[in-house]
């Protein structure tokens, strides 16, 4: 078993880590996100002013590291964002027979995200014309290098190689091709890959359709554990119970490496009293007291969700202040869960203060996403599932749309948008990079108004992303959201899952206790391959009882018996089944395996015991190493014995077998 970490740079919600796992000679690619960091050095279109010294051209994107890893047999995807880089690869020859495993919901959201990205990117093409140059002029300039260093990307080790990794975006055709390879699954559905592997996705709790994966090979079971959230306010909770007792855990949750604790303090400075009422109203809290496992309450307490709701409520209060002062609010956040929660909490806040401020969601995919988030109860947290059973809409946005408080438009230039438009307003739209989509135009419109508010997510280089919009008067709220397992919960989680090996990111080495743990740690870092020792040398097989009953075992000594076995091996669903083979093997030659030497004298007496008339052949050429036994009854036969071989001359098959049996009995052979 070998693991190569291909990318860990982002390790975030938008760009999860990517790995290459080699198992029993098969290659699995675990996640293939798109790295959009290069986008920040391109000026958004239409150009305005000096564009902050950014590149004025159709942007290019980092080619996923997996492209250089050669072909893979299967891709296992844990989230919609984890598949956005796939269309770059699926056309390559090494991916011709590759299968992509991903949950139904993640596949659907992923496809929409890819299409939206292509659509937004097309705005650049319309402005500049198509990007056809193999190596555009801007790539050679000194300016480019400066900008790249501005990006502070650790990747830039080899500059020549570097610009070759910047490629044009994929097309809608590539997306189509990629989606053809997708095999969508449900949570808890066991799928078989190549007969010997069983793959199973379970909820990871981070987002709708996000999953952890269990990869069960014939000799090892592996848990692929991407960023996970124990208790979620929208997605089905992290289903850790289905991951118990797998041999290896590939811990790929990088969220705790980002400094979240600091942000919490920042948030804590602001008041939290006002949030309590809304918490109760949406009843996203639940009691998990009934769980029997004593460690569960600690891991799964509601702290995380409470904090998350508090964070979002705080954002809501900032939004509320902005609209009260007459400013509009722009929220270019790409997290579906956060958007859905924000909508519920904002509308609640506006309703309770009887303010009428329209909320717009401007995105190509909004209508479809909003329609289908209300039709996937199986993928939602327990409290939302209860809404199904009570006959209520699963999310608040259904009611908001009906009441005319929320408007969905695919584009800023969509029909009807102007008629509905009223400022101040609250707008949720892509894209978080502030280089693509309606966010660019709206930020241009509002950037000089100090009453307005821009809500961005921490982690992106805010200074760089806001560069083309300078000077700014708009208020900017940087916020962070719960994105994975807290450091403090890693150890209790591992203790519950009881693995034998844990693969941990190098960066977490200092943060996780290694004393007194019953498993061994391996640490991985980007670009390096680590090899794990085999857990089991042998395969588990199932032998049908009808085959077993037909075996003819021979006792070799007090403690050992052996039997010759002739079977067919059937492999399916990760199970090795030995079934009976009707036809016997070629009879003319057999290997006899024996412990003691073949003594002609004993053979003679054994044959006589079976009622045969026999004697040593009076052969003139007899030497010490060769000896012949002549049989005259029940049929004619001659047995020639040398040190490494015996030849039985006989025309009667039954006699043949009898001689063979006698021979094997004298030497304890089979």
């Amino acid at each position: 078993m070998k693991l190569t970490c291909l990318s860990a740079s982002g390790g975030s919600y938008y760009s999860p880590a990517s790995h290459l796992l080699e198992l029993e000679g098969f290659r699995f690619l675990l996640d293939c996100p798109i790295d959009l960091s290069a986008l920040a050095v391109f000026a958004p279109v239409p150009l305005a002013g000096d564009a902050g010294g950014l590149i004025r051209a159709v942007p290019r994107y980092w080619l996923p590291a997996a492209a250089k890893a050669g072909g893979v047999d299967a891709v296992i995807v844990s989230s919609a964002t984890g598949m956005l880089g796939l269309p770059f690869l699926t056309g390559l020859p090494g991916f011709a027979n590759t299968k992509v495993y991903v949950t139904e919901v993640a596949a659907r959201i992923g496809k929409l995200m890819m299409e939206e990205l292509v659509e937004m990117h097309y705005e650049f093409v319309r402005y500049y014309g198509p990007d056809t140059d193999v190596s555009p002029k801007w790539m050679e300039g000194k300016e480019f290098n400066e900008l790249m260093s501005m990006l502070q990307k650790a990747v830039i080790e080899d500059k020549e190689n570097d610009s070759a990794c910047l490629v044009p975006l994929y097309s809608l055709g590539n997306i189509e091709e990629c989606m053809h390879k997708v095999q969508p699954v449900k949570y808890g559905e066991e799928v078989c890959f190549n007969g010997i592997f069983m793959l199973k996705a379970s909820s990871s709790g981070l987002e709708l359709g996000n999953s952890t994966w269990e990869i069960k090979g014939p000799r090892a079971s592996i848990t692929y554990l991407p960023s996970s959230v124990f208790v979620s306010a929208h997605a089905l909770d992290f289903d850790y119970s289905s991951l118990k007792e797998n041999d290896v855990i590939l811990f790929s949750d990088f969220s705790s490496l980002n400094d979240m604790d600091e942000d919490n303090e920042k948030l804590n400075e602001h008041s939290m009293d006002e949030t309590d009422s809304s918490l109760c109203h949406y009843s996203v809290l639940r009691d998990d007291g009934a769980d029997a496992d004593e460690k569960v309450p600690f891991v799964c307490n509601n702290d995380d969700i409470t904090e998350e709701i508090e964070r979002i409520s705080f954002i809501c209060s900032c939004i509320f202040d902005a609209v009260k002062s007459g400013g509009s609010v722009l929220i270019p956040i790409g997290r579906l869960g956060v958007i859905l929660l924000l909508l519920e909490l904002i509308s609640e806040m506006l309703h309770s203060s009887s303010m009428k401020v329209p909320i717009f969601v401007i995105s190509e995919t909004a209508e479809e996403i909003f329609a289908f988030t209300n039709a996937l109860p199986e993928w939602l947290c327990k409290s939302r599932q209860e809404k199904l059973f009570a006959g209520e809409a699963l999310f608040g946005h259904v009611e908001l749309l009906k009441e005319g408080k929320l408007f969905l438009f695919p584009h800023l230039h969509s029909k009807g948008l102007l008629a509905a438009w009223k400022e101040p307003c609250i707008v949720l739209c892509p894209h978080w990079s502030l280089r693509l989509g309606p966010a660019v135009h709206l930020l241009r419109r509002w950037h000089a108004d100090k009453r307005c508010l821009l809500v961005v997510e921490q982690g992106n280089d805010a200074e760089l992303s806001l560069k083309p919009f300078m000077p700014l008067a708009i208020q900017v709220l940087e916020c962070s959201f719960l994105s994975g397992i807290r450091v403090g919960k890693i150890d209790p989680l591992l203790r519950m899952l009881k693995p034998k090996f844990v693969l941990l990111p190098e960066g977490l080495k200092s943060r996780c206790p290694i004393q007194e743990v019953p498993w061994s740690f391996f640490y991985y870092s980007k670009g390096k391959t680590i090899e794990l020792p085999n857990l089991r040398e042998e395969f588990e097989v199932h032998l049908a009882t009808d085959v077993a009953f037909r075996l003819q075992p021979r006792q070799l000594n007090e403690t050992t018996a052996v039997a010759r076995l002739r079977t067919k091996l059937l492999v399916s669903n990760g199970r090795f089944q030995l079934a009976s083979a009707e036809k016997q093997s070629d009879q003319s030659k057999r290997h006899l395996l024996h412990c003691s030497t073949i003594d002609p004298g004993r053979l003679l007496s054994a044959l006589q015991e079976k009622g045969m008339v026999c004697s040593f052949a009076a052969d003139d050429s007899s030497t010490a190493s060769e000896c012949s036994v002549l049989i005259t009854s029940p049929g004619d036969a001659l047995v020639k014995i040398t040190s490494d071989r015996t030849v039985i001359y006989c025309d009667n098959e039954r006699t043949c077998n009898q001689i063979y049996d006698a021979l094997s009995s004298v030497c304890k052979g089979i």
Partner: protein, 558 residues
């Protein structure tokens, strides 16, 4: 080891489906239905008798889990009775739509029987709610570990929204209980879908054990033509249905037709229930057919355009209309009320579902066309048109045979059908498919032997040698052991591999290659060759020659 199958209901009849299967020491109850044709003790399966036979102190210890296939009353009707009155507290599984919609069916029926017939109420509304709270919802294809040994999985059955076929497995013993299923897609649901599974037992419904139906399209057209003719003649159409399933399918059909033909005649739903049910259907669109999902990414097909607001007094209004009224089979409730009002006029039309339980008005209308119906103390003159819906959400005989052949179980048990037809189907399954088939009556049980396997380890060399042996003829060596199907058989007999089974005291048995055994046990190899007698002479001559040659060489050397 054996699988023990006890039929508590729907044995040689339709109604109160309930089968308890003991598999690998685990007892699983499939469905827990009521019989709508009876109002005495035959209403529910005979639980007490079963419990006595098991010798268990209570149902919770006797039964590992209950699995409900779909929300029809003959499959779920006795569940609140079983949990709240008989006191079963173990796990209950059903799909998300079944859990969401079952309370409606139960409450609807409870109200009908309570209000209209004054029947003694068996369980209360609160009982239904308490019962449903205990239900664990499941998704299709999801593998659910009920306990350490018992695994269950639901497959799409297509019969009504959320209907499932249930796969259950303990150790090597595996079985499928189909519930009701449909092998042809209908307007809003897909056809039943299941994997190739290795099964010891298949328990299948056999409602249409003898019938083979023609194309669905023609039958839909017939229905639309009858409805159109009636309303254009100023008549009223009464469609008695249960709130869920058939109502939605027919309404989709009519809504579509109304749109195409630009009809203005109102379509009504008698109960707020059906309208409420549509709200659920909108959230459960993922459980309808792929076709609907694909063609309605944004618009929801359960937003009916031509359905109008309805009040009870409307049944006295003049002019044409179409009314969906509950319950189906006209066994009481509002459909009976409307029937009483509308049946005496020739202009009107009553549609009947494909199947009606005996004892209901629907059943009477189906068996020849009576001109007068006496129901309890009421006399109704029947002059209206009657159209029997020829489409049923059940599979026909061909579908049952197809599914049975596809799954190739070692044994088949038929339930949910009528005795003579079941006998006919049993013959077909045994003669055409060569599988032993049974159709036990209520409270009878059937025992079925199961296959067993021994678990052991095998060395990598052995596995590789098998794979090489079997792959010799395979062009795609890479895909040698490929495929997700269970019964994937690789290679023919000639490609069998040889190995040695090594059994040592205090160690688990192990399979290895010959040469590995030599290493392990320090044995030697000795080749045994079989030759006909004739070749002995040849060999003698050869050795003679060789000796002569050697002698020559010797002499030459000298």
């Amino acid at each position: 080891m054996a699988i023990e199958c006890l039929v508590l209901g729907a044995g040689q009849e339709v109604g109160k489906s309930c089968v308890v299967v003991t598999i690998g020491g685990k007892r699983v109850m499939f469905d827990c239905g009521m019989h709508m044709g009876y109002h005495d003790h035959r209403h529910y399966p005979d639980f007490a008798r079963a419990l006595a036979a098991w010798g268990a102190p209570d149902f919770t210890t006797a039964i590992s889990c209950v699995v409900i296939t779909h929300f029809h009353l003959d499959h779920i009707g006795a569940l609140p009775y079983f949990t709240e009155i008989c006191g079963y507290h173990g796990p209950i599984y059903m799909t998300y739509p079944t859990k969401a919609l079952a309370p409606f069916m139960l409450e609807d029926y409870r109200k009908v029987t309570m209000d209209q017939r004054g029947e003694e109420e068996q369980y209360s509304y609160e009982d239904i709610l308490r019962c449903m709270k205990k239900v664990i919802p499941m998704d299709l294809k999801q593998t659910i570990q009920v306990d350490k040994d018992l695994v269950i999985r639901a497959y799409y059955a297509g019969h009504v929204i959320g209907a499932a076929m249930i796969y259950a497995k303990v150790g090597d013993a595996a079985m499928v209980y189909t519930g009701d299923y449909n092998m042809t897609p209908d307007r809003h649901l897909g056809a039943a879908q299941i994997d190739h599974l290795k099964l010891d037992l298949l328990i299948t419904e056999s409602t249409y054990a003898k019938t083979i139906r023609d194309s669905k399209h023609a039958r839909e057209r017939e229905f639309l033509k009858a409805v159109h003719k009636c309303v254009s003649g100023g008549g009223k159409v009464l469609i008695p249905t249960f709130a869920l399933g058939r109502a939605q399918e027919l309404c989709m059909l009519l809504d579509d037709y109304w749109e195409r033909m630009d009809l203005k005649v109102p379509i009504y739903f008698s109960a707020g229930l059906t309208i409420q049910a549509n709200v659920y259907y909108k959230m459960l669109i993922g459980w309808t057919s792929q076709k609907i999902k694909d063609s309605h990414a944004v618009h929801n097909p359960f937003d009916f355009k031509h359905v109008c607001h309805f009040e009870r007094s409307f049944i006295n209004n003049p002019g044409p209309c179409v009314l969906f009224a509950t319950p189906g089979m006209i066994s009481g409730g509002f459909s009976l009320e409307a029937f009483k009002k509308w049946a005496p006029s020739e202009k009107n039309l009553i549609t009947l579902p494909g199947y009606c339980v005996s004892g209901t008005i629907g059943h009477k209308l189906m068996c020849g066309k009576p001109t007068r119906i006496d129901y309890k103390d009421i006399h109704i003159d029947v002059r209206c048109q009657i159209h029997q819906l020829a489409f049923s959400p059940h599979t026909d005989s061909k579908g049952i045979m197809d599914l049975t052949e596809f799954l190739s179980p070692k044994h088949v048990i038929l339930v949910h059908g009528e005795k003579p037809q079941m006998a006919f189907l049993k013959e077909r399954i045994e003669s055409e498919l060569g599988m032993p088939c049974y159709y036990p009556g209520n409270n009878e049980s059937v025992s079925i032997p199961t296959t067993q396997n021994l678990k052991m380890s095998a060395t990598e060399r052995f596995i590789t040698s098998c794979a090489v042996e079997q792959g010799k003829r395979s062009l795609h060596k890479r895909n040698l052991i490929c495929g997700t199907g269970l019964s994937e058989v690789i290679g023919s007999d000639e490609e069998a591999a040889e190995g040695i089974l090594l059994m040592e005291k205090h160690k688990s048995p192990k399979i290895l290659c010959e040469d590995e055994l030599l290493e392990v046990l320090g044995m030697e190899q000795h080749l045994v060759q079989f030759e006909p007698m004739v070749s002995r002479i040849v060999a003698d001559v050869e050795s003679e020659l060789q000796r002569a040659k050697a002698a020559d060489l010797d002499s030459d050397g000298k």
